[in-house]
Symmetry: none
Subunit: 197 residues, 4 copies
DNA sequence: TATGAATGAGGCTTCATTCAT
DNA sequence: AATGAATGAAGCCTCATTCAT
């Protein structure tokens, strides 16, 4: 009946992708306004022209949209971090370019996630994968002596803690480069002093 | 004919205090297992031998128990931090005694809060009051030159981020003194290198 | 130990009667404000310095206080109606004195019962007993030819309907004597025209 | 492939209307048996094959169903009253046709509302609108001298009181036409005797 | 695939009432 | 008799999810 099924399919694909995006966009807004905890699937659907049943064609649950949202962010930030680090030739360069990339990303996405009651922690597997990447680069950097050797678990924890806590400052309006330089200085000085593991 | 009404009252008071404790203990467990977000008042009651209505004789809502729990922790940790700092005569002493007191406290309370999905952030007004206290001491320490002058907002954020993120490591079994020494070294080295505000 | 137990008992009696009155007074206010439907026993107790358990020493339930309240009113209004009628020597006198007595009573008790959503119908057994009395007097009056013979069930219904509906007007501020005269005229003219049963 | 979406829609509409009717019917029975005050949404749902949540797809609360029920009755009775009055050429005709229409309506709907504890007063805005209509017609009738001039507020109150109180008699089995004639005679005789306002 | 009504489990809370003191 | 905390049934309502169309 249809001579161009593939085109039709293409159109459908497009609609599907659009619906998925519609839901994700709504979820971003809703999570931002209500926090993950008190946001409901209904809230997300209501922020959408779609019907409630349609949600379940794309996501199994609220958790899954949340995941997808975090993955999306991680996917966006990882290449920027990777690229930033790849150019580093010194400990300072390594840290500063990483922090700058990260806080600039946070600054660019400020509006989206007002992060009310419950902070929007980027600790999904996808995001953590980003940090694993960081860890590998750290270790490589240690090997290359860009960074001093140090207890990797604690170092990672500390980097994450500093990064996310300062991210809140950036979300509230702090200048991302100033913040990045602060973090860089802290770690640059601090790492030298760390006890060897 | 009776003559000891105060004893009767005493017993009742005792029961009341016990019930309150029972609910708080259950809440600690439940929040630990499910996170604040998905825990429900019913979950808390179910973890208790009490009746559902009894909960509302003590707390108006889930939020209120949570508050009480955080306040309780803050109330316990603050005097220890204060005491630790009061004895400090050097930057190193100041930091090390603070971190040790904090991570030891975390280690002692390890069991209670498995903290899965949603981390159990100690960011109630009471706890924050504890940090305000810290800030004042920091500033006093800066004045006394125990600590170098630095952007206080960022410094606070960074201390909090490091403290809570490393607290997770301690909860998962890391030695609190090792962690405290790590943090101390990091900041001792890092603070020197920080840009002046 | 006590040389005058009877006096002590007397004091207790007094307290008991006072408590009963306290509860009734609170109930009057609460029913007036919330209506019987949405008023709760708790509301009544809260409007009282007494403890919740004490309520049950005096009344078995909300219904019972309500009853008591209505009985109280009926008890107060019946002798006045009786007396008013006893003096009547004509149909007009019979009706007018009855209506005046009733609406004056309503006017005197205006404040107490704002009667919101659900009207405060005086249809308890006690009050109805008052109307049975009225009916007997009506029949006696018919026999004495003060009133024309008419279908007694319908006549009663109509008297009650008119009385309570006009009582609302009085509660809202209408002059009780004007209202009584209106009702008297209506029935005086109307009764003559009624079909014989 | 399909071609009759409108039919599908039609069926759904039908089911929706049916469910609404199911709930209204159940509410009629339940309010009749328990009175508005003590009836609960649960009671209504239980008198239905529907699920609890379904109730809330149709009505926001018990109050809303009650409203709908009263409006339904008012909507049904008003045109009949209007039509009855429009044909009147005399005071007697005006009153008799109105009362007959009203009590016949009550008689037809007898079964539905056993009205125990709390009478099912038809005093919703919709019903009152019906009486406002009556009032306008009364005034017009006074102007046309079908009815004597009289205090309109009291006259209305009295008409309503008589109508609803006699309605109870009709619900309990009295012949609606006999009752209507009784009321007509009462007012026909009574109105002449009323004091001018 | 999209729709949106139906479902019923389950959340929160209040209530009347009991009962130890 | 008075107290007031404890009780648990029961109210109201929202939610995630299913499923007929």
């Amino acid at each position: 009946m249809d001579a161009r099924p593939s085109f039709a399919a293409g159109r459908r694909e497009l609609t599907k992708a659009q619906n998925r995006e519609t839901i994700l966009a709504a979820a971003r807004v809703v999570f931002g306004q209500l926090g993950f905890a008190s946001a409901t699937v209904r809230d997300i659907i209501r922020a959408t022209p779609l019907a409630s049943g349609t949600f379940y064609n794309y996501f199994k649950s609220k958790e899954e949209v949340y995941q997808a949202l975090r993955d999306e962010q991680a996917l966006a930030v990882r290449p920027r971090l990777r690229q930033a680090r790849s150019a580093a030739t010194s400990a300072e360069g390594f840290l500063k370019s990483s922090f700058r990339a990260f806080f600039q990303f946070v600054a660019e996405n400020r509006g989206g996630t007002p992060a009310p009651a419950q902070r929007f922690r980027l600790d999904s597997p996808e995001v953590l994968a980003g940090f694993v990447e960081l860890r590998k680069d750290e270790e490589a950097a240690m090997t290359r002596s860009l960074l001093p050797a140090a207890n990797p678990a604690l170092l990672s924890a500390v980097l994450i803690g500093v990064a996310f806590e300062l991210a809140e400052q950036v979300k509230e309006g702090a200048n991302p480069d100033v913040v990045a330089d602060f973090a860089t200085a802290l770690f640059l000085g601090g790492l030298k002093a760390l006890p060897k593991p």
